[in-house]
Symmetry: D2
Subunit: 353 residues, 4 copies
């Protein structure tokens, strides 16, 4: 297992969906930073279940408790230990999957790899573990006060924004349940999710993240380029199938003469197909990237599958699940990006004497 | 700087485009493996410049010299040091960029981050550094004999294969200069590249990599999921703008009921939208992923830019550059993937007593 | 800060002396191991304060609570999160050191390095943090069932055992408060500590650790030799001033012809000046090492010192402190050694295909 | 294998005694530092064989060649690759140990661990590999210009300096072949070594290292305390059996009231039993530590041993070996310490925003 992320600013997480608690230790926290603990809780609340009727109805207050590393309101440079209790440990909900592998879940691979698994709610493979990322990211945001992180839902199934991030009013993102900054598209997305939910099905979607006011110089070539750290982070999120930044996959169709970002006299560039990163290092322009989330695997329909002894059987989702993961993914993507940038920010300090 | 990749099987690279040599140290090599050194050189030859008229005409024999770690033909478990001399050190080619930032290159960001840069041929930011990845990957392939790695060009600009990997005869990949397994599409791609080159321009493209015969259990959740390690690797390659695996970005449009891979009685799955990885761990099905490469930034056309003092100026590419990077990217992607899989393979051994 | 130890079996700790709790996350735990949780608590009880009249009278039950990673009594391969609440948070005891630097403590250096410090009980620099090491080590011991770890007190001040470990009956170690396996010497040591305590003073001492039944092959040259990992661990313990293994400092006076351990036909050696490690790798013989602990810095006598503004002032220890650290250090040394050996044991598995 | 040392300033070494070359890659080098390459070579010359009649007569010019990372005389922040060719590859010297395990060497453990070994000259276990440490340390010294590193021989066998480092004129260290700053003692040591050599035997000794002008704040508790990093480094050197700093093993006999270093009004301390480190962090006082080296295992006398099939046999050292390792260990200890301090210096920069 590999439950640490970050080279200097480093989260080490623990916890299963239906264990006593999830949480983690954040090491490498710069000292002397005044933290707004309520703001951290607000970020967690953006992720928590049950916040609207298009998310899972699991009941969790998701209150984070800090156990160390903060003294008289400030970071001391010592590790921040924290935990979030699992209140809703309805383990009986999961007895039906004790000996059955749910399709496209981690049940089969965990069982094969470790020879044992905590089957309750997916155990360690549950998306519940992403709450720890939000905590570490929310702290990173407060340390990188000048940098602005804004994620939003770009698409739900076939319903997609037609506009680029700079054509949108990102202050509207939090005004609707689906977290799409375009109100009309947001309504269509919500409708789509409700309709999908009613059918006992789920649907995928995309999240875009924009990072503004990034200092020049973040990223560590050759093997910790800034885009590589971001992709590494995002592909570790449950349900993520793809990552692109700047011109992304569309950029493969362009010519060099179209794609090159011409420098202006102030060091900025006329266009930004580079997505704010050149040679693996931030160039001061806006960073933007897109993350693809597949449809949630748990559906309220009967599916064929096999049990732990490879006998054929059937399974049907029970309980309270997200019909679409992207609205709750928005704060996760945003805060994970903040973790990455703070890590690269701190590492960059080591290049000068 | 961060010039190591891998947790157990670990390449630490060095070298600039026009320095004495590039090379590296590979640590964590399992002991007692008989190596075919000529096969490693063959992999390097697939990457080397000047191999066809659609690649750069830079002259480099790219002969790898092994300095340690191999005794009587076998690995000893000690680190393998190796180097590749830079024969074609025509530094005068680059005097025109000494004080000018080439658009969409790493010149600007390296200068700002480090306050100094080796401007000759891009220095450390040169794609020449990927030769070390090929060496480490070629050794990994020989250690993971059972696993089959096959990459190919999926698209060049708008010209794209319409077929999935399993509908193609991948044994044809090396039969043409562009490394596309469909001969007709290959011809169109080659034509496109030649036409682009004639116009003094460059073009992007996509590479698909397929990995067959992967054992179940590779990948280390939560933060070293197999897909995350692959994305981390690929986004560290020069010019890469995106990564997707399995259903990828298209999968975001699907419903759970369509996307779920139903288990068969033998533990395999009916479909493979998961791309051979579930919960971050290989499930034994084929792994496949796609990598997006932007057009090469060096074009033979005049462009506006700025110099090191932020004065406006003009620049025009000189010398010998690839009009399209994907044909030479094929062995790099393939071998980098092999590095990742071997690393995860070795790490997986630590979970059992 | 650097609060993780271990490369595969890895403890990441958190917590301050008078915060809510101390604890940690243990990653890299092999899966499927049945754990005896009471045995872990027994190891903690060997370390806890107040166990005899020659240790600090601080009141802490030191009950460890496991938060994750154990399912139906067994390890699952997921990280084990745990915490130990700080019950005795008598912060008022420490108001007198809020603005004063205690001599030979970490107050001055923490304040200078971080610009802030949790002064209550020494904060993160408190030896209380070693409880987390005991937890991680106690689990390691259960995983390495075959290996036998035995530490004991070798000296207190000038009172020292004259015998080597193999001349002692180590089963007697736990029969007295000072943890010295020779009853007569133990009595003298206890007397010495009581006398020192009465004088408001403290005294140093040495701990020896013996590891029997070690498999051949543990240790990772060049830079993670087994002795280097052990020294690295031990020198991280509060109050430790030195480490030696095998012949140690005395060995410097020997000739090669005396010091060389002659091989016997079964692969063992006639003598064991090597201390069970050759070339950084265990050779199957007993490993033994000695650790030097300085006298505790907190004394019940008035001392000159300076305050946070560098004004001269006086200070006198208050509260409940150990007059000699070695009796409680025994389980810490022993369990830290177990952490190191398990880590090297798991890493060694990666050398073979 | 674990062939990297350092967290930010990081050497990754390669090479065997009788392979083509030894060398390494140094990553994390701060940018813009003007390097004196001849000074690096001078440090290597202090370590090289054949420099006097009390060291091995192996012939190696030990010329370091830099392959990357230096441009127009300055570091660029990219990794410094370097190598030192093995000129004297007299492999025939070693045919007699191909199938025999030399007592107290690494032959047995390497063979058992890896199932294969490069037996020529000890392969990777040869002390020849320490040349790479000298290169990395010599660069570190030039980066940490203000800090003063001075090691010297404290004892050879029973012949020992009676004085502390501050009672010696350390500028005399390099005036004699044994590198002891007291001329009379030096003569006795040289005599002792010559006498030992004549008898076909070897002898151990101790090296003291003093580091002056260290900034306050270096060291990363809990698990990378400055003394722990130093011990970790030193115990990785061939033949090292022990490490102590400050009061060391003698300090265990002291009382707290004697051992505590009383602060003076300028923040310095009256005594320095702490050895310049408190709570794992440098306090600005001189750092000093002592390292114990056992006698070299290769002796020119016949010894009983076993062969690779565990048959009893005899062996006698051939060739050119050091009768005592400490004179050549002086520059290794000194430069390894410089590597450690630079690493901690760079890491310390990450604690402030």
């Amino acid at each position: 297992m590999s439950n640490s992320f970050g080279k200097i600013y480093r989260l080490t997480g623990f916890g299963e969906s239906h264990g006593k608690a999830i949480g983690g230790v954040i090491d490498g926290v710069p000292a002397g930073i005044l933290l707004d603990l309520e703001e951290i809780q607000r970020e967690l609340d953006r992720r928590k279940p049950g916040q609207s009727n298009i998310t899972t109805q699991r009941k969790e207050s998701d209150k984070v408790v800090f156990l160390s590393g903060i003294f008289e309101g400030k970071t001391t440079g010592t590790p921040i230990g924290f935990m979030i209790e699992n209140e809703d440990q309805r383990s009986r909900d999961y007895s039906h999957i004790k000996e059955v592998f749910r399709p496209s879940h981690a049940d089969f691979t965990y069982q094969q790899k470790y020879g044992i698994r905590d089957y309750r709610g997916g155990g360690r493979s549950s998306a519940r573990t992403t709450a720890s990322i939000v905590v570490a990211g929310a702290i990173a945001k407060q340390i990188l006060k000048e940098i602005d992180f804004q994620a939003y839902v770009h698409s739900v199934g076939e319903i997609s924004l037609e506009k680029n991030y700079f054509e949108l009013d990102l202050s509207l993102t939090e005004t609707n349940a689906v977290r799409c900054p375009d109100p009309d598209t947001a309504n269509k997305m919500i409708e789509k999710i409700e309709e999908t939910k009613k059918a006992g099905d789920t649907i995928g979607g995309e999240v875009v993240c924009v990072i503004k006011n990034v200092p020049v110089g973040l990223g560590e070539p050759l093997f910790d380029k800034l885009q590589a750290r971001l992709a590494y982070a995002m592909l570790n999120l449950p349900a993520v199938k793809g990552f692109e930044y700047g011109s992304g996959f569309e950029g493969t169709k362009m010519k060099g003469s179209e794609h090159n970002d011409i420098f202006l006299a102030n060091g900025s560039t006329k266009t930004n197909f580079s997505g704010g990163i050149q040679g693996g290092i931030s160039n001061g322009m806006n960073i933007y990237f897109k993350v693809a989330f597949k449809p949630v695997a748990t559906i309220m329909q009967e599916q064929n599958t096999i049990d732990i002894d490879f006998n054929e059987t059937k399974i049907k989702g029970k309980g309270r699940h997200d019909p679409c993961v992207v609205p709750r993914a928005v704060p996760i993507v945003e805060n994970f990006a903040a973790m990455v940038l703070l890590d690269m920010f701190l590492l960059d300090k080591t290049h000068k004497i």
